[in-house]
Symmetry: C2
Subunit: 366 residues, 2 copies
Amino acid sequence: MSERLEAPRYATMRDVAALAGVGVKTVSRVLNDEPNVSDQLKERVNRAAAALNYELNVYAGGLRRSGARTNAIGLMLESVDNPFSAAIHRGVETVMRRHSIVVLAESFDEDPGRERTVVKDFLQRRVDGLILTTVSRDQAYLSAEAARGTSIVFVDRPAVSVAFDSVVSCNFDGALIATRHVLQHGHRRLAFIGGNQQVWTLRERRRGYLEELDRWNIECPPAHDVTGLLGEEEARLAAHAMLDAPEPPTAIFPTQNRLVVGVVRALHERGVQHRVAMVGFDDVELFDLLDPGVTVVAQNPHRLGELAAERLLARMAREPLELETLRVPTRLVKRGSGEIPGPHAADAVNIPRPMGKAGRPRNLSG
Amino acid sequence: MSERLEAPRYATMRDVAALAGVGVKTVSRVLNDEPNVSDQLKERVNRAAAALNYELNVYAGGLRRSGARTNAIGLMLESVDNPFSAAIHRGVETVMRRHSIVVLAESFDEDPGRERTVVKDFLQRRVDGLILTTVSRDQAYLSAEAARGTSIVFVDRPAVSVAFDSVVSCNFDGALIATRHVLQHGHRRLAFIGGNQQVWTLRERRRGYLEELDRWNIECPPAHDVTGLLGEEEARLAAHAMLDAPEPPTAIFPTQNRLVVGVVRALHERGVQHRVAMVGFDDVELFDLLDPGVTVVAQNPHRLGELAAERLLARMAREPLELETLRVPTRLVKRGSGEIPGPHAADAVNIPRPMGKAGRPRNLSG
DNA sequence: GGGTTCGCTGACACCGTTGCCAGACGCGGC
DNA sequence: GCCGCGTCTGGCAACGGTGTCAGCGAACCC
């Protein structure tokens, strides 16, 4: 018995060929279902392969042809255990599985440095394509990949300054509708709670929020416009702080799943969940069972993943497509927390719209 | 402009060597930080590599030495977007990242056929090790891998009939304590709600449940012992059916995250969440904010993943370890739903324990 | 001053597989 | 009987790297 074991020792085609008494190439033919092998040899080869427990080595085979595929793609996500990311992951996996392509998923934890590392990792493994969520302000570091012909699709957040397809949610529309929704319910002192300002989705959501406020000629004081929060706990504390201050908001708009949960917690801790309105961006399981139910702008991350995967496959197949940003609609899900009436509930919908290009507020939420 | 583009064309070491005017081996040395290269050549090579945007090909390099590592492991999970699986995934990733090992994660969706496919896929990619959650009754199909020296660790559910390490939760203990908990609160008509009976975790939880009932000399009628449920919706309907029947249970024990959510929904839909007690197996975000809070036996899936990863690394390093099943404790988290008093609440804790090996019920829940 | 060591460099074989090609064989047509 | 063709088979080179080793100066030690 050897003291220091070796790494797993796989049989090679040479071993199988020797055992079957045939040439290596014949083994290759049999195991790859190529034509022109007699049934007799086929049988011998299969028996030998089974006896040696042979498994094909996909990478060695892929080496031969320079344009060969590894049948793997890289997927970079914020974190594999964030439910939003996980749903994207599953959407991608579902599509890729149909094409026998495996998904290499890695978390980058909103760290631009890690983002580079992960991409490099993928490239060194010669993945056939990349689906990326990015936190970098600029993806110029990928332009060399573009030149090389690597297929890349961005998901959730679009590419900046490089020519790649993107698949994103309608963040602006969703935020605008959410904002209008609480305004129509009579709120005028709203608060915005958001994450990292570098992130495109946050900026879009904030833009939608501010644009609608602007239409109503309402300002959002700095104290009620908080961004840069890193997670549930920071959002919870920020909500508490706002509600402790004089002139607290009557409606809160937290704009990311973790932050919504944090704000919900704060409201419940203070027991004001029935008094202070809230619309969250991102749906979370069980939001419907809370009291009040949590009104949200729901995204469809699974669909984001599917679309990104399909787009990537099309790119990998070199289909002649225009560069495009695909948008997945968001939808307002009313459950109670966003329908709590505000101080101006009575006259809310009758207020003239000073900036209104479309006259009075229209119902976009369907 | 060519009409049909080719696959991404990576520069090779030969290209870099030619541009730098050095031998291929020298390029290899520079890019792998091997000693004995003059600063001058190092500089030239690095410049050439950058100019050509060269990326190492880890698989080609790994081919040379037969015992070479791919620095990748395979992780098979029920589904990457089940929060329980995702937490395991994250635990594994966290540990593996420290060793620059990438994680190939795939979902098997509780399908034994798919399980084989996924494992084969991993093997053909020559992963350095496997972390598997399994649904097969028997993992004999892996004994050849054991012989080959492939490192494998099972997570969440132990290996059957093959000699591999496992990392699991204390399912039996958790279920027993949960059952005792509701019995001590005066319930005598309990209901068990579970998933696939093939799955070890279910059987363990059911065993703990039945053992404690047995100690109290209580039977669980077939109508209240429902297994084989496939998801949230089936659990919801099962709970409704039970509560519609004569002699409904006064306490319910759903034994898996999806099923717990289904039962919670049913209770809320009927408005009986304050009358019918419930203890769930698996914690789910926001359970603490529901009314009543949902009492659960919480697992620690992130820890399961970390431990499995560490164990796998030790195996891959050929450390001389005994074959072992590592157990991660579960803990009872009391939030209200499990403390709803039952019909026998007054005398509950004073009931003699007919089968009690340890006399009267002891508080194991800490 | 000659032998030895050391630092540096590239040629070459080889890792496990597949593309390409040549050769052997059987068979039908003339 | 010879030729051409299709079927079946294996040898060989090549994929993109790395291990091994030999060669070449320069420095070092008696």
